[in-house]
């Protein structure tokens, strides 16, 4: 996707937080990334290292919580776990699914000094 752009966004948030919360070093960045968000984890890890260079998060490690995708299956009236947007319900095979989570893309927390 645009992992480089996302890392620029992450850096922007970190820099504005560093002013607000007065920290000078970020040791760890924790992200929530849903499996449907389209984010390529390996590319994100690579871009993260490059983009954070020279910033308060230069030496930060990146921790990514991968959030599984859930959907509400109407025929089954149940929440099921899916892998992709067009997956059928694993229980009944219907495509009448309403995706309820899995497109998260957010910074959860920072460990800072």
């Amino acid at each position: 996707m645009h992992e480089m752009s996302l890392c620029e966004g992450i850096l922007q948030i970190i820099e504005s937080e560093s002013k607000q919360q007065q920290f000078t070093e970020v040791k760890q960045v924790v992200l929530d990334i849903g499996v449907l968000s389209g984010v390529e984890i390996l590319a994100l890890e690579f871009a993260f290292e490059v983009v954070m260079r020279g910033s308060v998060a230069e030496d930060a490690t990146l921790k990514i919580n991968q959030i599984e995708a859930q959907a509400w299956c109407m025929p089954c009236s149940e929440t099921v776990v899916i892998k992709q947007r067009f997956d059928a319900c694993p229980l009944c095979g219907s495509y009448q699914l309403q995706v309820s989570s899995g497109d998260e893309m957010k910074i959860k927390e920072l460990e800072v000094n």
Binding site: Y95, K108, L110
Partner: protein
């Protein structure tokens, strides 16, 4: 640098917009802690970790302090990485709503016939509606030039290295366009079926354009885009006799990803099916105008100011 993406400083060019925007968002929050820490006279061999003037030991990862250990703390952020873009999109959306405008974000892969479809649409609708166009491409003003030949005002945004338009760019382009109230704005996004899906521009609908010269399984290959779109225009249907393209299957795939998606079959070259698309545009615009007598009374096609 653009707000959420890494297009880089100076890469984005909006026609008629040559001043530089410094992104200086300063926040005036003061975080002061008023804990008083009494320290006895022994020497501290560990680092002091200060927040401003004050020292706080209770915010470490374990919410406690162990002597000699580095004192770091966790900061809960819970911020959407694209949150900045969403804020700009919200501003755009409010502007569109205030002015009863219908903004459509046209997305597709390169070569699906977006600009041809748009040019024909403009020529067929410009007598009835006030229209304006924002064109997104990495380079060149070719597309905006094609649109301007129709007499409708258009602004080209060159994203440089960027793979999509973002809400901030659209906001600036709007300032140059100065569209009429009650008008229709077409935003032709960068030809890309991946990235533009994640960037809300403040539009009313994303319109996905898929041509039959591409694979019928594109909705499955690029599900995010077809999930984000409200309507899919299946373009170039005049070529169907020469191709092995299963229309039914394509529509089924699109509905698998997005059960709500509406599909219209059109040919921008022959004009076949284009009337259904125009009906959809007109009807969507009418929805925006409901209850807006202030605009309806002034609802006449006006001469657009060219940029």
């Amino acid at each position: 640098m653009c707000t959420t993406c890494g297009c880089g400083t100076g890469e984005v060019q909006i026609e008629g917009h040559d001043h530089h925007h410094g992104h200086d968002h300063s926040h005036g929050h003061d975080h002061s802690h008023s804990h008083d820490h009494e320290h006895s006279d022994h020497d501290h061999s560990h680092e002091h970790h200060q927040q401003g003037q004050d020292i706080h030991y209770g915010t470490g990862p374990a919410h406690a302090h162990a002597p000699g250990l580095s004192q770091s703390r966790m900061v809960e952020i819970e911020q959407n990485i694209l949150g900045k873009n969403d804020e700009y999109a919200k501003e755009n959306r409010r502007y569109f709503t205030d002015n009863a405008m219908l903004a459509l974000n046209l997305v597709s892969s390169p070569g699906s016939g977006k600009t041809t479809l748009l040019t024909r649409t403009i020529n067929d609708l410009k007598d009835d509606l006030s229209l304006s166009v924002i064109e997104g491409d990495q380079q060149t003003t070719h597309d905006a030039d094609r649109i301007r030949e129709t007499g409708v005002s258009a602004v080209q945004i060159n994203t440089g290295k960027g793979c999509h338009l973002d809400a901030h760019m659209v906001g600036h382009a709007m300032a140059n366009l100065n569209p009429d109230k009650g008008s229709v704005l077409f935003v032709e996004n960068v030809g890309n079926l991946v990235c533009p899906s994640a960037f809300d521009l403040g539009e009313a609908h994303k319109v996905a354009i898929l041509s039959v010269t591409e694979g019928e399984d594109k909705p499955l290959k690029y599900p995010d885009m077809f999930f984000a779109a409200d309507i899919m225009l299946l373009n170039k249907i005049d070529l169907l006799p020469y191709l092995e393209f299963d229309v039914e299957k394509c529509i089924e795939y699109a509905r698998r990803v997005n059960p709500d998606i509406q599909v219209l079959q059109v040919s921008a070259t022959t004009g076949e099916g284009m009337d259904t698309w125009y009906q959809w545009v007109q009807a969507s615009r009418q929805l925006r105008l409901i209850g807006r007598s202030d605009i309806l009374n002034a609802d006449k096609p006006q001469q657009m100011v060219s940029v």
